[in-house]
Symmetry: C2
Subunit: 287 residues, 2 copies
């Protein structure tokens, strides 16, 4: 593979940014990678593992001379970061991100990106419940979807470069408008996380009432609640930033649960079988 | 291992009953196993796989001469089955079950079991989302917990025999009263299943509104909703039979979700971080 990017800057060398760097490096698609962050331990780990070639604690210095900047920090910090680095970007630089929410980020970043530079919003549908550079791995994106969210302001060539990098990293790229992204992700990702956190919260609290409930949990419970081990700061930010779509999804879910509760309460045996059968069909359909 | 049971009858040779027979057979703890059920295909599969030595479509005939009868059919059918086989049980026969709900079953079965025979309630905390004899395997109970629910009416020797069989099958046996079992299981198993079914129902229905939402689901969603692939009839029965405890658990969960929703709606950033952090701590505590 010939090199696509001479100098790549990764702002936030965690699970998402670290894995992006690893995958591109392994494919020979980047020459030099600068890792930008705040804590020494994480960046030095990234350096020692060869995820990045150089580290910087100062984003405006770190992005200088980069052809592409990938921002992979919690969503509420992304547009402020773009604002901060804007004056230091090289002419023609492409800025893209991996944030789990898109509409607000894209709207803000398109305003902040300087003339002659380009912003392309993105979100890889891949992850684990672990975080930091040490959780990253080169094959994270293999066979996974990456959603890009171009708008009518998006530069065609910049979009193609970003799409090409994601394909090199192993992802299947698709595109949709930012609002649609946020509604879909609210349903299939943000709602399940909210529900998992609320479930563990509820069961863990029942625990406190003298019954050591959680100690009886078996494999099913552990699998079901694994996503509640995800990073609280990342999910606080996602919940806040995709608030409107997430609230609508929570309300849709609450209505389903209320309907199920009603059928249990009234002893509606055929209604319960029907409810569970429909859900099982939906679930089996995505296997 | 010396043989513990000469003649074992399994009523319902599915995941739970089939795995119990396989494990005991492999350990040499049973001499002859009769499989009892309704559909020819399932029982003939069990016979051809050597899970059972003999099959019967008539429970009253099938249990004749057995020292132990294990009942592993959906919970709402268990006590009726005990009533039906009661006249055919050999003197001294032990009847036990693997049903996921206990209080009502134990109460009913203790009334129905004939003088000189013994009932012991049980529930192995092990399973998968698959069902039928073909889903069974000998190591299902290895290292898993099995809860027995003796009462003051339970025969000590019968209890010890059942406990010994579960240990031979690989399980760690513990005991508690049936009502406590039902409250704990409502929290760690029945509530998560209800929530998973409701979630898939809600997201699958959002799907119908023109956005092909489920097709965007990734690994996290699939893991999270795997338990919604479980058998609808089994879960209908569990929801109906553990109605009271399950409704209380659903209400506890709904209160947690409502609190989370409130914090999202009001943009309570520290409150959200706190909520997610507490849940993550509970979850990480059960790893
Ligand atoms: N995890 C997933 O499943 C997943 C999937 C798809 C998309 N995403 C998105 O990807 C982004 C990163 O998530 P992640 O899972 O990679 O998180 P992560 O593993 O915690 O990595 C984030 C990194 O960013 C650094 N960082 C945080 N705030 C920063 C700031 N204000 N300025 C500079 N660096 C900062 C952190 O290091 P320091 O603390 O040392 O600065 C950390 O190494 C988020 O927007 C998330 O929504 C996550
Ligand atoms: N799956 C789990 O994760 C799990 C875990 C712990 C406990 N349990 C409990 O174990 C029991 C069995 O569950 P399972 O997962 O083994 O289900 P399963 O795989 O569907 O097996 C149940 C078997 O019982 C037979 N059956 C159903 N109704 C019957 C009836 N009225 N009379 C005679 N046979 C009948 C079925 O065969 P035919 O249709 O051919 O009769 C089937 O093979 C349930 O009480 C459940 O609550 C399940």
């Amino acid at each position: 593979m010939s090199c696509i990017i001479e100098r790549l800057a990764i702002v936030g060398v965690g699970l998402i940014g670290g894995s992006f760097a690893r995958a591109l490096r392994q494919a020979g698609a980047v020459r030099h990678v600068v890792g930008i962050g705040r804590s020494r331990a994480n960046l030095e780990h990234a350096l020692s593992q060869g995820i990045v070639d150089e580290i910087s604690f100062n984003a405006t210095e770190g992005v200088a001379g980069a052809q592409l900047v990938f921002i992979s920090i919690p969503v509420c910090s992304i547009s402020a970061m773009v604002g901060a680095i804007a004056p230091s970007l090289a002419p023609g630089c492409i800025v893209t991100d991996g944030g789990s929410v898109k509409a607000e980020i894209v709207r803000e970043c398109e305003k902040l990106i300087p003339e002659g530079c380009h912003f392309v919003g993105g979100h890889p549908i891949a992850g684990t419940e672990n975080s930091g550079a040490s959780a990253s791995f080169a094959t994270l994106y293999q066979g996974k979807r990456c959603i890009l969210t171009p708008t009518e302001r998006t530069d065609r060539e910049a979009y193609e470069t970003v799409a090409r990098l994601w394909r090199v990293a192993g992802a299947n790229v698709c595109s949709m408008d930012p609002e649609r992204h946020d509604r879909i992700l609210a349903e299939i990702s943000h709602l399940p996380h909210a529900v998992a956190y609320a479930l563990v919260h509820a069961v863990g609290t029942a625990d406190a009432e003298g019954e050591n409930v959680l100690s009886y949990s078996a494999g099913g419970f552990r699998d079901f609640t694994r996503i509640a081990s995800s990073d609280p700061v990342m999910w606080r930010d996602i919940a806040l930033m995709n608030r409107r779509a997430l609230l609508a999804s929570i309300d849709g879910f609450s209505a389903s649960l209320a309907e199920l509760r009603r059928r249990i309460d009234s002893g509606d045996s055929p209604g319960l079988a029907e409810f569970f059968t429909i859900a099982k069909q939906f679930r089996d359909g995505i296997l």
